[in-house]
Amino acid sequence: MFPGQFEYHRATSIKDALDLLKQFGDDAKLLGGGHSLIPMMKLRLAQPAHLIDVTKIAELCAIGESNGKIAIGAAATHDTVANSSLVRAKLGLLAEAAAAIGDVQVRNRGTIGGSLTHADPAADYPAAALALEAEIRLDHEGGSRTVKAADFFLDLMTTAVQPGELLTQVSCAPIPSGTGYAYLKHPHPASGFAMVGAAAIVTLDRNGKFATVRVAVTGLGPKAFRANAVEAALAGKAADAATITAAAAKSADGIDALADIHASADYRAELARVYVRRAIQAAVARAKA
């Protein structure tokens, strides 16, 4: 299997990439690690005439701290994110999600920007980005805009990225100390994709009640989402097993669960209830530690 014919362009800067995007328009696709796009091209599900490789733009590979936020370049690989000492120290949830993606070979190639823009419903990063309330920077000719993770994922493999835009950076406020977090998933045994994945971030007040709680789910519906009903059921309540189980039972409420050869909608909904419960319990345990 091999892709159809195309021209390969290696962008040397963000401006260069945007110029190429403008020049080739709908005939072009941006290439990150290629671990979603190349398989699609081999199956001829995608046949772009031009590929614009953005992975050699130095600016897009950097991870740093600025204005009180951790900023991750779009071309940072999952392996880089998972092993970055800065990300591990200040955005542990994101490092955990990155380490859970695929296998080591996939993590060595796949990029955070590529994964987010591909918006596979079973991808790991979207749940972490939603729980962390990440901000996603999109550059276009002559400027840029920032989109909140909550506004980024629109539908199945559909995001807020507009023609002519390039995802350049993902930034998140550092997770404060005393906060518990966890990303847990039920991986598909062959592909490693999340049948369902759950991300949780919690803080407890001095009485052991939930002060903040953010929960996001991937793999269940056509796009990752914040489990608002679960969060509401926990707010201000005691962080005990019964409360968490009752709240997690709402994980699939109102979601049109995906059904495919791998899992029925009912099974996915049950996985969501189980993994949301486990993720919250793990986050609570860490918050107490």
Binding site: F2, Q5, Y8, T55, Q105, V106, G192
Partner: protein, 158 residues
């Protein structure tokens, strides 16, 4: 288009089609058939090589993306007529039967051993999740990696 890269320490350049996959470049252009084509869908790991020192599935990398990079294939492991410790491990611990997955397994193991010198059994299994073997049941492959780790630690005086 033209690509220039280093394969097993030897620089080379070739005119290629942009759609040429790295695995086909290595096998059909560079003549290095030790890297195997398995599932072609990024799952089995038979085509694993090191790209700038990191294990990648070369069926899902364009040769064009490797322009300027350093590639190590299984042919690049043995040095000065002596087997690499991972090759020796597979030999000594019977880490293969048919051998189809073996080059990819070894390259993934080399990536692991570049990150950690004393991996636990769990760490080895985790690091080889992207490589499938249909013969051995993995047990002897784990032992082969443990053998190599020990040998490399001894050689480094640790």
């Amino acid at each position: 288009m033209r690509v220039n890269l280093t394969i097993n320490g030897h620089p080379r350049g070739d005119e290629i089609e942009p759609r040429l996959l790295l695995v086909h470049y290595l096998r059909d252009v560079a003549g290095l058939t030790g890297t195997h084509v398995g599932c072609e869908t990024t799952l089995c790991g038979a085509c694993t090589v090191l790209l700038d020192g990191k294990a990648v599935k070369s069926c899902t990398v364009l040769a064009a993306q490797a322009d300027g990079a350093s590639v190590t294939t299984v042919e690049g492991l043995a040095k000065d007529g002596g087997l690499h410790p991972i090759q020796e491990g597979f030999w000594e611990e019977h880490g293969l039967q048919c051998g189809y997955c073996t080059p990819g397994m070894m390259m993934a193991a080399v990536d692991l051993l570049s990150r950690t010198t004393n991996p636990s059994e769990d760490e080895i299994r985790h690091a080889l999740e992207g490589n499938l073997c249909r013969c051995t049941g993995y047990q002897h492959i784990i032992k082969a990696v443990q053998y190599a780790a020990e040998k490399m630690r001894a050689a480094a005086g640790r």
